[in-house]
């Protein structure tokens, strides 16, 4: 069975694993991780791009064939996110933007309201907007309407590695959204990524679990395989779990 292509913002992605640039022990892990994981898109915080001549510039560590997904980390309002996005585009970081508006530094939960406001503006300016949100179907439909290129619901708070704590809410998004659903944040193990893909997520974004592994390249490879396995299982229409046991010799079979 042929898988359909994943297209976001007019770009076709061969891999359904997206990655991030934060938290690595050294920047030279980034190209090695990208190669091992085959990830086709990587997110980078604009505020961390250091163009000072003496220091390493993170952009130099990202191969040209990998799509850059600048993010607005640090923004506390829609206006700040919009400004960061415009600067990213002017700086040659491309047309993609992940909107991350966080006003809660304790749990790092996204501010859905500000995110929607920023999405409206930036989609109107032709950006391929990927908003990072708490999974809320009503909001997701509004984001779609505003022109979001994909929706990025969180599985669990950033960096917690707790997996798909919001699974039933994400399921509603997957069932009802026309644009791709990319599960972002909280994915701590390859099995979490596989779980997201099995339930029909279009892709996942993983940073902490890969970047803080002892061997980020090897962990990137592990995630790549898990994402593929989960996707194949989804395509194979795996059997649903059931709360009740189902006898293989049904009692009412004689009625058929």
């Amino acid at each position: 069975m042929q898988d359909e292509q994943l297209t976001i913002g007019g770009h076709v992605f061969a891999s359904r694993l997206f990655t991030g640039t934060g938290k690595f022990a050294a920047k030279d892990w980034i190209p090695r991780m990208l190669e091992a994981s085959e990830s086709g898109m990587i997110t980078v915080a604009l505020r961390r791009i250091d163009s000072h001549g003496k220091n390493e510039n993170i952009l130099d560590f990202i191969p040209k064939d990998v799509v850059l997904l600048p993010n607005t980390s640090g923004a506390r309002t829609a206006e700040e996110a919009v400004r960061i996005a415009r600067i990213a585009r002017e700086a040659g970081c491309g047309n993609f933007i992940k909107i991350e508006v966080i006003t809660d530094m304790k749990y790092l939960m996204p501010d859905n309201y500000e995110t929607l406001r920023a999405t409206k503006v930036l989609a109107g300016e032709g950006f391929a907007v990927l908003p990072y949100v708490l999974p809320d179907l009503t909001l997701a439909k509004k984001l779609e309407e505003a022109g979001a290129a994909a929706i990025m619901p969180l599985g669990a708070p950033i960096g917690t590695n707790r997996g798909l704590e919001t699974k039933s809410l994400i399921a509603l998004l997957i069932e009802n959204c026309r644009v791709p659903v990319v599960v972002d944040a909280g994915i701590g193990r390859p099995s979490h990524a596989a779980e997201a893909m099995e339930m029909g997520a279009d892709a996942v974004l993983v940073n902490t679990a890969i970047a803080t592994a002892e061997d980020p390249a090897l962990m990137g490879r592990a995630f790549s395989l898990a994402v593929k396995a989960g996707r194949l299982a989804y395509m194979a229409r795996m059997a649903e779990e059931s709360a009740l046991a189902q006898a293989s010799s049904p009692l009412t079979g004689f009625l058929d």
Binding site: G22, K23, F24, A25, A26, K27, A45, L46, R47, R48, I49, D50, H52, K54, N55, G74, R76, E80, R83, I84, I87, T103, D104, M105, K106, Y107, G159, T160, N161, T208, A211, T212
Partner: protein
């Protein structure tokens, strides 16, 4: 609302007998929990917890890696004035000390900024003594505007201000505030702060929350270890940071445990924390506050600081000079506020961080 009421709750608490009563089994029970309460934190500060230091260190290492990755954020301090109207018995800038006093002009500050920027540093911490007449808000605004041309982040470690004054400095470009209470024990505070504006315990204690209310992005608190009974001081520091985290969701909260070094006043600290206890306190704080930034300054010696990279530290100062100026062509003026013990250059500190398997981060902020 004030952190004062949090501290008040422990006014009659007998820390000494509490700590004496903690068993190793109780420490182990705390370490088996996922989320620690205030009381659990106290347990980890007890002498008995010292026996579980390795477990605490592993937990601190894991949590820090999880929330901050394998990175250390770098910043550099710049003293622009050592004029001071306070009499803090432990400080080299004490108004009674006959040291040469100096306030940098804008031109001198620009020269310093240029020299510092050439090292690659992008985050700067601006420091002054407490002499608002000499370094008024208008002057500080100008200094911050000037530094913003050279650095992506400008933080302040100056005398406490009102909300409106903090707002003015934020609008000039400051984004972070460091303000150490020095000592949380109010009686001890009175003993060591003899004269000047700093005698007002409450005004200083409430300053970090005024800074947060004024919209500063990052607020850093802590005690100066040596001025009060150490374990309870570390506890109050944790309590303070927790209170700020809970009250100001928008603000990144950080802390630090500066340990006393000999200063010009030749003050002999009454309380001391040895290296083992220091590691216990840092790891206990990390277990209690997984997301708090933890700064380790050049007060700590190089070899010890390098070890703390894996034990919970997230921010390092580097290439520090604690006299006024000192980075540009001219010699630093006056006596330093305290003696630094890690005298390595920025490049040497960066190399040490890399050797520990961590990424030195010059820049993680831009006010856009």
């Amino acid at each position: 609302m004030s952190v004062y009421s949090e501290i008040e709750r422990y006014h009659d608490f007998d820390f000494r007998s509490f700590f004496a009563g903690v068993s190793k089994a109780r420490v182990e029970a705390v370490l088996a929990k996922e989320k620690l309460s205030e009381h659990d934190f106290l347990v980890l500060l007890s002498p008995a917890a010292s026996g579980c230091l390795e477990q605490m260190a592993h937990r601190a290492h894991r949590l820090t890696g999880q929330y901050f990755g394998h990175t250390i954020q770098l910043f550099i301090p710049l003293y622009i004035s050592n004029f001071c109207s306070n009499e803090c018995v432990y400080c080299g800038f004490h108004r009674g000390n006959t040291i040469s006093r100096k306030k940098l002009s804008l031109a001198e500050i620009e020269e310093e900024a240029r020299a510092i920027a050439a090292t690659g540093m992008r985050h700067i911490l601006l420091l002054t003594g407490e002499a608002p007449g000499v370094t008024p808000i208008a002057y500080l605004e100008e200094v911050i505007r000037l530094l913003k041309r050279y650095f992506s982040s400008v933080s302040i470690e100056i005398f406490p201000l009102d909300v409106e004054e903090y707002k003015r400095l934020r609008l000039a470009g400051a984004d972070g505030l460091t303000l150490y209470q020095e000592v949380y024990d109010e009686d001890r505070y009175r003993l060591v702060h003899k004269a000047g504006r700093k005698t007002d315990y409450r005004y200083r204690l409430d300053a970090p929350e005024r800074g947060a209310r004024a919209g500063l992005r990052m607020v850093n608190v802590g005690p100066l270890l040596g001025l009060g009974e150490i374990r309870s001081e570390v506890f109050f520091c944790g309590l303070h940071a927790k209170y700020l985290e809970n009250t100001f969701l928008q603000t990144e909260i950080g802390l630090s445990l500066p340990r006393m070094n000999p200063a010009e006043g030749n003050y002999q600290p009454e309380f001391e924390a040895d290296d083992r206890s220091f590691v216990q306190f840092i790891t206990a704080l990390r277990c209690f506050l997984p997301r708090a930034g933890i700064t380790v300054s050049t007060r700590e010696k190089a070899s010890f600081r390098d070890k703390l990279i894996r034990l919970g530290a997230t921010r390092f100062s580097a290439g520090s000079c604690t006299g006024v100026g000192g980075y540009g062509e001219g010699q630093p003026e006056g006596t330093p506020q305290f003696e630094i013990t890690d005298e390595r250059s920025v490049d040497e500190v960066v190399q040490a961080i890399r050797n520990a398997g961590y990424q030195p981060v010059y820049k993680d902020w831009d006010m856009i």
